[in-house]
Amino acid sequence: MKSAPILQLKGLTKRFGRVAALRRLDLEIHAGEFVALFGPNGAGKSTLLKVAATLLGPDEGKSVFQGGAPMRSAIGYVSHQSLLYGNLSGLENLLFYARLYGLPDPPAQARSMLDRMGLKQAGGQLVRGYSRGMKQRLTLARALLHDPVLLLLDEPYTGLDQHGGRLLTETLSLLKSQGRTVFLVTHNAREGLQLCSRVLIQNAGRIVFDAPREEVSDDDFESIYFQKIEETRPRRKSRGKRAARAGG
C-alpha cells in the first residue's frame, strides 16, 4: 500500500555546540501520510523539522527528498514564528512570497489563497494589526502558496484561542482529505491525534515510538507516551540543565 517515501531521513545527528539535538535518527515519510510527532521540550522535534525543511544541515546523516536532494520549492514550512512582515499587508506578504517562488500570476494566486483562508477582508490590513488567529492562518497561507508536496508544521496551535484552533483543525483536515503529506509537530495530544494517520514520539534526539493511528487509542496514548519517555530518559542526568538547552 505504501508508495516510495517522500522524505527519508537517514542517521541524522545534529549538535548545537556540545549538545546533540538529534542522535542518529531515522525516519521515512510516505506520500499522503499525516504524521503527528509528539515529545517533551528539548526532544529535538523542532530541530528535526528544520533539518527536514533544509533550514539546518545535519552534522551526520542525510535527508533524501523524493529520491533526490531536498527541493526547497516542494516544501512548505510553518514554524513558531510567522515568517511574515508586520509592516506589509496580508496581501503584500503573499504577493512577495508568490513572486519569490516564481509563481505564475502572483496577484491571482495571493488573492485566492487569502480567500481560502477566510482573510479576504483583512487582506489590505497590515499584518501588524492581525489577531493571533488571523496571523496563523496567513502563516499557513504563506506555506501553502506554492502548493508544496510536503507540509511541515511546528506547533501550529501555539497561542491560538479555541476559535482559531478550530479553524486551523478544519484547514488541516481539508489538507488531509486532499491527500497532502503533512508532518505535524506538537505537544498537544488532543489536536495531534485528531487528524493524524501515524503517531510518532521523539525523545532525546531519537524516535522512540512509531505506530499507525489505528493502533493507538486515545485513552492509551497518554500511558504509552509517559512509558516511552520514561524508558528512554537519558540515564546520566547530572547537569541536566545543559541537556535541556538542546532546543525543542
Binding site: R18, V19, D59, A243
Partner: protein
C-alpha cells in the same frame, strides 16, 4: 572509552605535539642565531644608531603576520567553507592568534623605532605602518567576534567569512594609504636605508627564526585546540 572521532582528534593532536618537539630545537637555535646576528654580527647603522637593530625583529614579525599567518587564515577560511571540516577552523583560529601577536610586536617595535628616527611615535603617513595597524584592528575584531559566538558550525562559518573579507582588505588598505601619502607633503620618508650584506644576512636569519617560531606555535595551538574539543565533547557526553 574514547569515540572514534575522539581517537582521530587525539591522534592528530599527538602528531602536532611531536612536530612541535621536532621544531622546538631548530626554532630555539634560530632565535639565538637571530639575536646574535642582530645585536653583534650586524654593524651599527650610521645614522639611526643602535635603535636600528629593532628593524630585524620588526620586519621578521611583519613578514610572519602578513605573509604567513593572515594569508593562512584567508586560505583556511576558504577551505572551511568549501570542505566544512572543523580542522580548518582550528587552523584559521590558531593563525589569527599568532598573527595578532606578531602584529603587536611589529607595531610596538615600530613605535620605539619611529620615535628617535622620525621623531614621532606614530608615522601616520607610512602605508606599511598603517597597514599593520589596520590589520591589527581587523583581527582583534575577529577575536572579539569569535568570543561572542557559541561553539558550532555557524561560528566557524562566520569566522571563515570574516577571515576572507578581512584579508581582501589588505591590498585595498595598502594602496589607499600609499596614494594618500604620495599626495600629501612628506613629513616622513622611510626610504634610503641602504642595507649592507651583514644586515641583510641578519634580516634573513631573523625572518627564518620567526617563521620557525610560527610553525612551533601553530603546532602547539593546534594540539591544544584538538584536545580541548575532545574534552569539551566528553564533558557533554557525560551530561546526557
Amino acid at each position: 572509552m574514547w569515540s572514534a572521532t575522539d581517537k582521530i582528534r587525539l591522534r592528530q593532536a599527538e602528531r602536532y605535539l611531536t612536530a612541535a618537539k621536532v621544531l622546538a630545537w631548530p626554532a630555539f637555535l634560530l632565535i639565538l642565531a637571530a639575536l646574535y646576528m642582530a645585536f653583534i654580527y650586524a654593524p651599527r647603522e650610521r645614522q639611526m644608531g643602535e635603535v636600528q637593530r629593532i628593524f630585524y625583529f620588526h620586519i621578521g614579525a611583519a613578514w610572519n603576520a602578513l605573509g604567513v599567518c593572515f594569508l593562512a587564515v584567508f586560505i583556511a577560511g576558504i577551505l572551511y567553507l568549501w570542505k566544512k571540516r572543523r580542522i580548518w577552523d582550528h587552523v584559521g583560529a590558531s593563525f589569527v592568534e599568532i598573527g595578532l601577536a606578531y602584529t603587536t610586536i611589529n607595531l610596538t617595535t615600530g613605535m620605539f623605532w619611529a620615535r628617535p628616527v622620525w621623531n614621532t611615535w606614530w608615522p601616520w603617513g607610512d602605508p606599511r605602518v598603517t597597514l599593520m595597524l589596520v590589520l591589527w584592528l581587523i583581527y582583534v575584531a575577529y577575536m572579539i567576534f569569535r568570543s561572542t559566538m557559541p561553539d558550532g558550525e555557524k561560528k566557524y562559518k562566520y569566522c571563515a567569512v570574516f577571515g576572507i573579507i578581512g584579508f581582501l582588505d589588505v591590498p585595498l588598505v595598502y594602496v589607499s594609504i600609499h596614494i594618500w601619502r604620495t599626495i600629501h607633503p612628506k613629513v616622513i620618508t622611510s626610504e634610503g636605508m641602504a642595507l649592507e650584506t651583514p644586515m641583510i644576512m641578519a634580516l634573513f636569519t631573523s625572518m627564518a627564526a620567526f617563521t620557525a617560531l610560527t610553525a612551533l606555535l601553530f603546532c602547539l595551538r593546534m594540539a591544544m585546540r584538538l584536545q580541548r574539543t575532545v574534552v569539551l565533547e566528553r564533558l557533554y557526553e557525560e551530561t546526557v
